[in-house]
């Protein structure tokens, strides 16, 4: 019966492993692994919650009457305490609400983006907006658009523009917004998966960076361009005053990236060798996700068997 708790524990482990995996793996592999993993683990943990709630609910006289099974048998064999079942039921309801709200909002936002993209006339999918802002983004659509402010284009040379546009095109052709949406939905179902969703936000950026590096043939150019644009766009005021974390300011010492935000990590990754594809890590992760699924299926079979025994005992 302890198996039923496994799908509830694994998302926490996945949350801890997400950021190291995102740094270790080839970004494309990492994106797929983390997205499939998040959705699979969210499904399993939701199923586990549903089963816990179902065990508790099976004791209710209304259900035993409807399902024509013996309450005595269920009470004798049922391993789940009532309180656990009630908590699981509440968590399940919360997850259902969170997923519904997020799904509705994200679907609306995507629809709005598609509508806007269809209304934008552009040359080769590129729309240049005037005005003082320094910004560039990919707008999902059919076809999607790349929107860049003219002030930003002014500041970049031809190779920098090529790197920026190749990066944004990779987001559109790889449909990266779908990975982001899938993992956010998973995290809505199980908040322990939130670090996985954040890691995927990072790996899709890395994926697009590596694509831009492949297109332009120059990793350091892409790193320079990201750094240049980020510094042009200006620092964001920190959310809360933070103590000095001992980050190295002298150039002689190795820079610490452990606590850094996504932009410095992307630049650092581009300034080193491209990450290799690691089949072993992938296989190990697949095994762990498989275990969670097995545990959920096994427990479901247990519950089914118990109800059948109880029906026989009626």
């Amino acid at each position: 019966m302890w198996l039923l708790y496994l799908p509830l524990v694994l998302p926490a482990l996945a949350g801890l492993a997400a950021r190291p995996l995102a740094a270790l793996l080839d970004p494309r592999q990492a994106t797929w692994l983390l997205s499939i993993g998040a959705v699979a683990l969210a499904t399993c943990s939701t199923a586990a919650l549903a089963l816990l709630a179902a065990y508790a609910a099976a004791r209710s006289p209304v259900l035993s009457g409807l399902g024509d099974y013996s309450q005595q048998v269920i009470r004798r064999a049922d391993p789940i305490p009532n309180a656990t079942g009630a908590i699981a039921g509440l968590a399940l309801a919360g997850a259902a609400i969170a997923v519904t709200v997020l799904f509705r909002n994200r679907a609306r936002a995507l629809t709005a983006a598609y509508r806007h993209a269809a209304g934008l006339h552009s040359r080769d999918g590129l729309v240049i907006v005037p005005g003082p802002a320094i910004e560039a983004y990919a707008l999902p659509g059919r076809p999607g658009r790349i929107v860049v402010s003219d002030r930003l284009l002014d500041r970049l040379d031809a190779s920098g523009r090529a790197a920026l546009i190749a990066h944004e095109r990779a987001h559109l052709s790889g449909r990266h917004y779908l990975f982001a949406a899938a993992t956010r939905l998973a995290a809505a179902a199980n908040p322990m998966l939130l670090p996985v969703a954040r890691a995927v936000d990072y790996t899709v950026e890395r994926w697009a960076d590596e694509h831009a590096a492949a297109v332009t043939g120059d990793r350091s150019l892409v790193a320079e361009t990201i750094g240049q644009v980020a510094l042009l766009a200006g620092p964001r005021p920190p959310r809360m005053p933070r103590m000095s974390l001992g980050i190295v300011s002298s150039r002689t010492r190795r820079v610490s990236l452990a606590l850094a935000g996504p932009v410095p990590r992307r630049v650092a990754a581009l300034l080193t060798a491209p990450p290799p594809r690691r089949i072993l890590v992938l296989a190990a992760s697949a095994v762990i996700i498989g275990l969670a699924a097995l545990a959920a299926v096994d427990t479901a079979a247990d519950l089914h068997a118990l109800v059948e025994i109880a029906q026989a005992g009626q």
């Binding site: 995507l110 003082p132 910004e135 990919a138 982001a180 950026e205 150019l221 620092p235 150039r251 630049v267």
Partner: protein, 149 residues
């Protein structure tokens, strides 16, 4: 070098300065729309002063044009040391409005893949260090083959 012509400095107060700013903006926009290609502020001024109206100073024209650019009505391209300007087409105007629409609201911005996310002050320092290190490495090993040069 576009220096304001001292000859016109007094004209600004004499004639043009009294004209309403809105009229001037509309006039400049009209000139740019009527033109076949991008214009420099100097060329715009020449076309205004081509008529019977009193002459405008170069700096007045630049002020009007940059105001129009800030409003998102003109696009500019770098040309030599200065800029040339073109009126914004419908597509770009639509993009500006869309940015306003997508920038606000609960989940709206989440579907846009921005090139860079915001930097904290610490990230900015870290980034400068990383880029400086990379440039040092590139400078100290010139014999190593690099794709970009």
């Amino acid at each position: 070098m576009h220096q304001p012509d001292p000859r016109h400095a007094s004209d600004r107060s004499a004639g043009a300065g009294r004209r309403a700013a809105g009229t001037l903006e509309a006039e400049v926009l009209g000139i740019l729309r009527a033109s076949d290609g991008p214009l420099t502020p100097g060329e715009v001024r020449d076309r205004i002063t081509g008529g019977a109206q009193p002459e405008l100073s170069y700096s007045t024209v630049v002020t009007i044009i940059s105001r129009l650019h800030d409003k998102g009505l003109l696009a500019r391209q770098r040309s030599g040391r200065g800029f040339t300007y073109t009126p914004v087409d419908e597509a770009s105007l639509a993009a500006s409005r869309m940015r306003l629409a997508l920038g606000s609201g609960d989940d709206r911005g989440a579907v846009l893949s921005r090139f860079v996310s915001g930097l904290s002050g610490r990230d900015a320092r870290l980034l400068r260090t990383l880029l400086a290190e990379a440039r040092d490495v590139a400078a100290s090993s010139p014999d190593e083959p690099t794709e970009s040069g």
